[in-house]
Symmetry: D2
Subunit: 284 residues, 4 copies
């Protein structure tokens, strides 16, 4: 599996012959498919597919694959993305004051669970700077207040560009991004500390406690302009009881948050997530 692979994520109007045409393209060029999975959303009339093949022995050079595949995709009205497994994506982790998701992502990256580089941390606070130093990650402090948001977002975009960032992970970044920012940099995964759509917005654990729920959750989703309403990638839950006070919910929730966020980031980096409308197909 250390063999480099190419992956296509494809969506198009459902029609006869799609699997055959796509598989033929790979076979005709000598590729060995190692993962092929498709989903049809009948209500939406949409065909969605993930197909991954070994580049070893594939006859097309990498820079021609896209053009060649487009000749097939265009007549089908297909949208598609092409990824190579040995192109290592670059992640910026955005944080506020809490360190558990940040540390967890760094550990996983160091342990080889997350195939990415983490060259950059952005925070609106100073308190976790030491962690960045310890792991030799650049740390940019960008304070946000009511008046400077637009200006600071411009700065953030510049830094993302400067570090050639492919994915922003909001690892408990307690600020809202503007629609304009997300429009300019749409590859953002956020962790929300509730089982969405329950407890949209601030202080979900306090509200979960007040509501007296018996289960709490966490949700990893792509960020959209509409807060906490983006396409969900992964969710998980844990049981709580009357004995759990707000602090206990927060503590138990942390364990959920880091696992759910890490799973979502990993799925995204393996190009297993296909967004359509406000939904995701997760090709596991």
């Amino acid at each position: 599996m250390t063999n480099p692979t190419a992956t296509l994520l494809i969506s198009c109007p459902d029609q006869r012959g799609l699997v055959a045409k796509i598989a033929n393209f790979i076979y005709a060029n000598g590729g060995n498919i190692i993962h092929s999975d498709q989903h049809t959303d009948f209500a939406a009339g949409l065909f969605l597919m993930r197909i991954e093949w070994q580049l070893d022995g594939f006859n097309l050079p990498r820079d021609l694959i896209g053009t060649a595949f487009n000749a097939i995709a265009q007549p089908l009205g297909a949208k598609w993305e092409l990824h190579f497994s040995d192109t290592i994506p670059r992640i910026a982790i955005w944080i506020s004051k809490q360190d558990h998701c940040l540390l967890d992502l760094i550990w996983r990256q160091r342990a080889g669970e997350i195939a990415a580089e983490i060259p950059l941390i952005i925070s609106n606070h100073h308190n976790l700077k030491e962690i960045a130093e310890q792991f030799n990650i650049e740390y940019h402090h960008i304070a946000i207040n009511k008046n400077n948001k637009a200006e600071q977002e411009t700065k953030q975009l510049e830094i993302l560009q400067q570090y050639q960032i492919d994915l922003v992970v909001l690892a408990k970044y307690m600020q809202i991004l503007s629609a304009d920012f997300i429009h300019q940099f749409p590859q953002i995964i956020n962790i929300h500390h509730s089982f969405l759509p329950a407890f949209v917005g601030a202080n979900p654990y306090h509200r979960a406690f007040e509501r007296g729920v018996k289960i709490i959750g966490a949700t990893a989703h792509y960020a959209t302009a509409d807060l906490d309403a983006g396409p969900i990638i992964e969710q998980d839950v844990v049981r709580v009881s009357h004995r759990d006070e707000v602090d206990d919910l927060i503590r138990k929730g942390k364990d959920l948050e880091r696992v759910v966020l890490a799973r979502a980031v990993r799925l995204h980096l393996q190009n297993r997530v296909l967004v359509y409308g406000n939904r995701t197909v997760v090709f596991e």
Copy 2:
């Protein structure tokens, strides 16, 4: 354990000596405690307790226990309920068109999992009458429309009284009860087909599908005038994926609904649920 027991559910302002005073009351009268559990809600300054003891060898006759305990409870400002395990409660199951929760409750009652009688089914539809006949349960059809609700609720209350019903279980009864009805008959458990507070209201599975959640849930709670906002007794969840269409969510949800409702009814009948504010303590 076939020995009959008495159970006290007590709540009062937190203060020194509560466990001792309550346990002494039972010990002084020769009772053998088989379950004693308490919870302190520090924020609310509230002490909550469940204590169960064997009546065999207890010196007080049943009809005097309440009076005797009140002498202790009153100075403490305590609210309390006294239950005997061999007083079999009488349940009315209310249904609309779906049978899975109804059948499940009947099966569990027949299997001895639910210690209650089920003498009455009320429905706003006709289609499940056969089930009632098959199990020799009285079936009252009470149609509800926009104009006759108040009138029909009066009729329902009369029937509940006539059958000496202790607990109403809304087993997928797709009608809203008025605040007035609930005020007059507050012992009502409802099953809501979502992980509350997500998807309050109608068609939760359709909305879960649209939102693209990765987990669905079910919630059993006491009915209150504010729809789907009553104290939660039990919740559970199951994973779903992009492959699950609305029909699949409904199918998977049914399995949750019947288990969650049955657990809640059982906990209630064993006097393990203590409501305070909009929360429950479940003494498992």
Copy 3:
């Protein structure tokens, strides 16, 4: 989706071009694929695939599909099965004294969750005969003891043949089938009341209680001559605590057993389970 479909389950040595060849076969004959999923077991060098397409508009008559596909499959060294969604399989449910899995399967079949006929119940006891009568299912009592097993198995095989049974579901049938029986009728799903391979054999709940586990489980698997060692289709678990006595484990376990068994039967009937070695691929 009420459109009839054909499904191929295929396994063969991994090699280039498999997806293309299989998809081409369907496309060339005018079929519209609605589900296509494959898995490669790299360690075993094995390619496994499920592909389902609509028969409406497919150019090959049903009785020629197998022969036509075999021309493709044989050179690949492939094993395959072909199923039509409108061929309704016939199930025999085998039981001993417990009714919960039996009732559950019947309910689901009546509710349309399980697309099969249930013409036959076989039991080594008399006590559930009434249920068979109530649902108009034939009930054969075949008592098993130490001396008559071989003889009774012959009788059982005759009855299965007589009723044209496609699948035997051991719904808490507390007898062991001989290797010879399983060899002659291999399509058997069993529910074991533990999280296999924990507590193989008899009385798993008693042994789980003694071991003091904090979670119990249930396992649905294909029956093999080696007891409780067959390929696992589905498992699930539920938390227990020190408060749960053996009776509580049995009660909680029942809820697991019926759900796990029902899921496995449904997956099997939808031709989503492919066995290889002692493992299953479940194409969900």
Copy 4:
């Protein structure tokens, strides 16, 4: 809750008046009970209780509580332990080559989730020494081979004594401790990377893969001379599928291991675990 508390863990033959006598002892001395929970094991005829009260306002000085309570406990034939919440236990973490449980425990201790000091790490390998240095924890390398085990265990016991260790946490320490060692230092929590009693012994993930299970688990238990057979404190599980290779099971298992171990350590440190026979009561 920052108020220091005392906690009694009590077990004795079941008899009338136990809750009253114990609660009276605390009330008579002016204590305010904040947690009181008991369990009766009817089969074993055993009463088990945890009771926690605030020391603020308690009339007995700490060093007399034990003696005073013994006057009550002895006639009852009770075994008991007394703990004070502001006596911070000292943990030694034992590791081999894997760092995930170690890092997790350190992180939780730093975050205040685990109320203990971690002055000591013991390992039979060198590779994680850096972590110890980074967090200012003493690191003792004690290599184990077939011939030096008894000798090295003597050394380990000396070091435990030297550092005044209260609890050993085997955080993926891949060596077996002798019965003699455990006899001399019985306070040991181990994490086993399977859902015990499934896959006792070595390489549980490899064996889980071979068995084709659909769920894997992790188990935290007290160490006993009989490997993997000690009293279970906590277990949890996660779903896997045919797509998960051994490496995926290991990766998913790591997330279980660290959470399950951390929960068990926390429960132990809060004196919520009472062992009797080979079972635990966990007073949550």
